[in-house]
């Protein structure tokens, strides 16, 4: 699996910071998924432009105290793709 792949949102879902939930959420027809902090931080950097490698680098910069994030990001991307939240463009 190349970390050069570019994730973008399935147009069905909209990511948003939700003050009342104190978290990022995914909104979709008549529903809402509350994201845990790390899922929220990753998805907040998905813009259909940046590759997985670039997103990982940006996270690493934002959270310098964290160990290598590459494996976690990759694992989460797989989950998000399975859930149909995101799609990849090579």
């Amino acid at each position: 699996m190349s970390n050069q792949r570019i994730p973008g949102f399935n147009p069905m879902f909209r990511l948003q910071w939700e003050k009342a939930q104190d978290s990022y959420v995914l909104l979709y027809p008549e529903g809402m998924i509350k994201l845990n902090p790390s899922a929220g931080e990753i998805l907040a950097r998905v813009d259909g432009q940046r590759s997985e490698a670039e997103i990982t680098a940006a996270l690493q910069q934002a959270f310098p105290e964290a160990d290598s994030l590459a494996a976690d990001v990759c694992e989460f991307m797989e989950v998000a793709c399975e859930q149909n939240w995101i799609r990849f463009h090579e």
């Binding site: 069905m12 009342a20 979709y28 027809p29 809402m32």
Partner: protein
């Protein structure tokens, strides 16, 4: 209408009480259903609007709706449904969509598709509308138009469903199923595949409002229901094998259950409806209960949600009677639906008679028996003329 039965005096006294009460624990109103109007070009005999909708007061103004949207958003509402009646009959719909997006709602337009056109689809998209749900009455033209009470409805719906997808919206297709269309569920699903729906709600009629009035004509037999569920499951397997992400949501009628649904996730917990005249309700059918509900013209939504009599009336479980009070499932189903308890037993604090522990469960069994041998009586269509008859008789 005679199905409402008698009303207990404690209910009536309750409704006459002062509106303010000590607040009980409540969640956030995550879901705001804005019923913009009762006007509708269709006449579906299972409409969830109240039977006496024609006696409803003046519709809220644009400014009043904007205030409702702002206040609910401030309280945590994230999902917003524009509903009705037919919301497209409101000339300010686009303005409200813009306001909704500005406030950060995920906005859903719940429409019959009648009155929609390419221009509006593009305009709403640009204004930030997130999703459109189009309702169908059946998979074929004749049955659809008979049920909708309109000769051209089906053709228009097909055209608009295609246009919704062409404009890049997520699309939910909603089919209310009943004894007249449920045997064609395969064709319904095929039609949804062809139209490219993202979600399909195969929602068996719930017997409120006009649907209760027409229950004998609508309720499917158990065999019809089981066949439809089996076919739906077969399609789920087929869709998955074909890599088609379309989701089929099959809603069973609670009349065939032995335990009630956890209605609205509990009274006044996540769901807030505002009706065309500004009455605030914990669910869209609660208006028929003998409970005084507040109006957004008089009070703020925060005050309504947390402190009004109506929104606290069935919160928590200290209002419960037996068999609910001592039931170990009361935290799961909250005693079922207050409206159904009221409609079928005359007291909204009774257990929902869907529950086999209810002493009124016989009413449900009787309805099931009737569905096996339905009487051939004409349906009462939802329109102004018929509604005025209900206004006079109540």
């Amino acid at each position: 209408m005679n199905r409402t039965g008698s009303v207990s005096t404690s209910e009536l006294q309750g409704s006459a009480c002062l509106p303010d009460v000590a607040p009980k624990p409540a969640g956030q109103p995550l879901w705001l259903l804005a019923e913009l109007t009762y006007k509708c070009p269709l006449q579906c005999p299972y409409c969830s609007n109240p039977l006496d909708f024609s006696a409803s007061g003046q519709e809220l103004s644009t400014e009043q709706w904007v205030k409702v949207l702002r206040e609910a958003r401030e309280m945590g509402a994230a999902q917003l449904g524009f509903s009705g009646g037919e919301p497209l009959t409101r000339p300010d719909l686009n303005e409200l969509i813009q306001e909704a997006r500005h406030l950060g709602y995920y906005s859903n337009l719940i429409t019959s598709g009648i009155g929609l056109n390419d221009h509006k689809l593009e305009q709403f998209r640009a204004s930030g509308l997130d999703h459109i749900q189009v309702s169908f009455q059946a998979s074929d033209e004749a049955v659809n138009n008979m049920l909708a009470g309109s000769a051209k409805a089906f053709e228009q719906k097909l055209k608009m469903a295609r246009a919704v997808k062409a404009n890049g919206y997520p699309m939910v297709l909603n089919f209310v199923t009943h004894r007249h269309n449920i045997d064609r569920i395969d064709r319904i699903i095929e039609l949804c595949i062809e139209l490219g729906a993202d979600y399909v709600e195969l929602a068996t009629c719930q017997y409120y409002g006009w649907a209760l009035e027409n229950r004998e004509q609508l309720m499917p037999s158990r065999a019809q229901l089981e066949r439809a569920e089996r076919i739906t499951n077969e399609y789920r397997v087929r869709l998955e094998a074909a890599g088609n992400p379309m989701k089929l949501i099959f809603v069973t009628p609670d009349y065939y259950e032995e335990r009630p649904k956890g209605c609205m996730n509990g009274w006044g917990q996540i769901f807030l409806t505002v009706t065309p005249d500004g009455t605030a309700l914990p669910c869209h059918s609660a208006r028929q209960l003998p409970v005084q509900f507040p109006n957004v013209k008089d009070r703020s939504l925060d005050d309504i949600w947390y402190r009004s009599f109506g929104f606290n009336k069935y919160r928590g479980n200290d209002w419960m009677k037996e068999p609910c009070r001592s039931c170990d499932e009361k935290e799961k189903d909250f005693g079922g639906c207050r409206c159904q308890a009221y409609m079928l037993t005359g007291d909204a604090a009774n257990a929902d008679p869907v529950c086999s522990k209810s002493q009124h469960h016989g009413k449900i069994l009787q309805a099931r028996a009737e569905a096996e041998a339905p009487a051939d009586v004409p349906m009462t269509f939802r329109n102004e003329r018929n509604s005025r008859v209900f206004c006079r008789s109540e």
